[in-house]
Amino acid sequence: MSRVRYAMAIDTHTCVGCTACVMACKTENNVVEGFNRVWVTQDLQGIFPDLSLTIQSERCNHCEDAPCVSVCPTGATHVGPGGIVLVDEDKCTGCKACIAACPYGARFIDPRTGTADKCTFCAHRSEHDVYTTACQDVCPTRSIHFGDMNDPDSDIARVLATRESYTLLPEAGTSPRLFYLK
């Protein structure tokens, strides 16, 4: 069996932009006031009355080829189990190279510790290979799919196999593991 590779897919058809995922993440991970690991963007396009609205719940893309990992001078930012990109607070100097390198603006400095912070795919819950993230748990429209994309029986593998999806800034060449279902 292939090794675990976590990924997330967000259904842009059913997401209503309620920001429950934003709040759940802040509560679960004790994110410092004024900062967000998860955020929601709304992209409105067209000519009235022919308008289209795309709502995206965004966060760290846990890229396969993560620029934040390669620029980190101390190894604080690393690829953890299941391909999750994590920050080891004990090793982080707060040099901000990872923030400059991230094309998605997913990282910030936690003013309490002076270290880089971002979404962890709730890695602290991963005692078992199969687990759910805080944002996934609270989503009222069940728009967030998460799991091992290498397991063909998983929910995430099925939606990625059966639905069309896209990633953010594919031109940046980072191979994100955060997908958006069309």
């Binding site: 920001t19 934003v22 004024g34 900062f35 967000n36 955020w39 929601v40 963007t41 709304q42 992209d43 409105l44 396009q45 067209g46 000519i47 009235f48 308008l51 965004e58 620029p67 390669s70 620029v71 980190c72 001078p73 101390t74 190894g75 604080a76 004990d90 090793k91 982080c92 100097t93 707060g94 040099c95 901000k96 190279a97 923030i99 400059a100 390198a101 991230c102 094309p103 998605y104 603006g105 990282r107 910030f108 400095i109 003013p111 510790t113 002076g114 270290t115 953010l168 800034l169 031109e171 940046a172 060449g173």
Partner: protein, 329 residues
């Protein structure tokens, strides 16, 4: 009728939104001082290797001592920029080949012994003797160690000079590569930035040396070198911007910050006009017998070198891939 596009985001992270604002004057000052140190090491190293005729002036012999001092000031700036300063020692617990910052941390460590060894070589003999006498009056152990070090360094002058040239060039290129490898910042993401910062470092290093009281022959040699370096730097700036303008939308958006965007006036007046063209003309007029104080031109080159890094550090943060994508789609 124009198509409407409106993007709203609930993210409002300090230093990230509405635009990236993580690196400030401390980083620019560090890159500038690193460049000056690189210039002093390379030029003084070449001076040792080429052995120009005549005895070197006292000031030229002593100024390499300022290289490790300037570097320490630069490293202090770098340390001040860290958000978690007590973890700074972590730079030296690991070497990460994919991280330019890791390369820089280790190069900086090699700079100290190399630049101090060269400074000892160029120190006038009389002063070396006085230091040896002082060491002997303190303890025989100190005097013996100093004599031993003097013996090692004095018998390897060429090797020390080559190490200084290589380490100085490495430091100069690294100051540009630090920014140049950031793929998500189009203005920075160019291989030209390494050679550009090295050339600027050599030019500001020569200008810094011209601030000292040197012999006429030394001054003329350094001023000539500086003029050539200024021309090279102007050429590299042109190549850098042409390269970006002939790239994709992201690269063009990056170049726009200096070609019509918010940093245009500052870049073309302070860096190109005041820091490169004007001092070049000043040094050229001085060579043709005009009464232009050499230190004024040198001072302008130094101000221009600091402005170059300051503006590139800030302007590079102005445009990222994300901003370009938001503007296009």
């Amino acid at each position: 009728m124009q198509t409407l596009q409106e993007i709203t985001s609930t993210r409002s992270n300090a230093l990230i939104d509405p635009g990236l604002h993580i690196w400030h004057g401390e980083v620019a000052a560090y890159l500038f001082l690193g460049g000056v140190v690189a210039g002093v090491m390379v030029l003084a190293g070449l001076g040792l290797l080429l052995r120009p005729k005549g005895e070197r002036s006292v000031h030229l012999g002593l100024l390499p001592w300022t290289a490790p001092i300037l570097l320490s000031v630069g490293m202090l700036f770098l340390w001040m920029d860290l958000e978690n300063r007590f973890n700074a020692f972590r730079f030296y617990l690991v070497f990460r080949p994919t991280s330019p910052m890791s390369w820089g941390a280790w190069i900086l460590l090699a700079i100290y012994p190399a630049s101090i060894a060269m400074a000892w070589i160029t120190t006038p003999e009389g002063m070396k003797q006085r230091v040896s006498d002082w060491a002997r009056s303190r303890s025989s152990f100190l005097a013996n160690r100093l004599a031993c070090l003097d013996g090692v360094v004095s018998t390897h002058v060429n090797k020390v000079a080559v190490i200084n040239v290589v380490a100085g060039a490495g430091l100069g290129i690294y100051t540009g590569m630090l920014l140049g490898t950031m793929a998500s910042r189009p203005l920075w993401n160019s291989a030209i930035l390494g050679p550009l910062f090295l050339t600027s470092g050599l030019s500001t290093g020569a200008a810094y040396m011209l601030l000292y009281r040197l012999k006429d022959t030394e001054r003329i040699l350094l001023a000539k070198a500086d003029m050539g370096l200024i021309l090279l730097e102007l050429g590299l700036i042109a190549v850098w911007l042409v390269g970006l303008m002939s790239g994709g939308a992201a690269q063009r958006a990056g170049a726009y910050t200096l070609l019509g965007g918010p940093w245009t006036a500052a870049f073309w007046t302070l860096v190109v006009g005041f820091g490169l063209v004007a001092p070049f003309l000043g040094e050229w007029m001085e060579r043709r017998g005009g009464h232009v104080p050499g230190r004024v031109a040198a001072g302008m080159v130094l101000v221009g070198g600091l402005a170059l890094r300051w503006i590139i550090v800030y302007a590079g943060q102005h445009v990222g891939w994300h901003d370009v994508a938001a503007a296009l789609f």
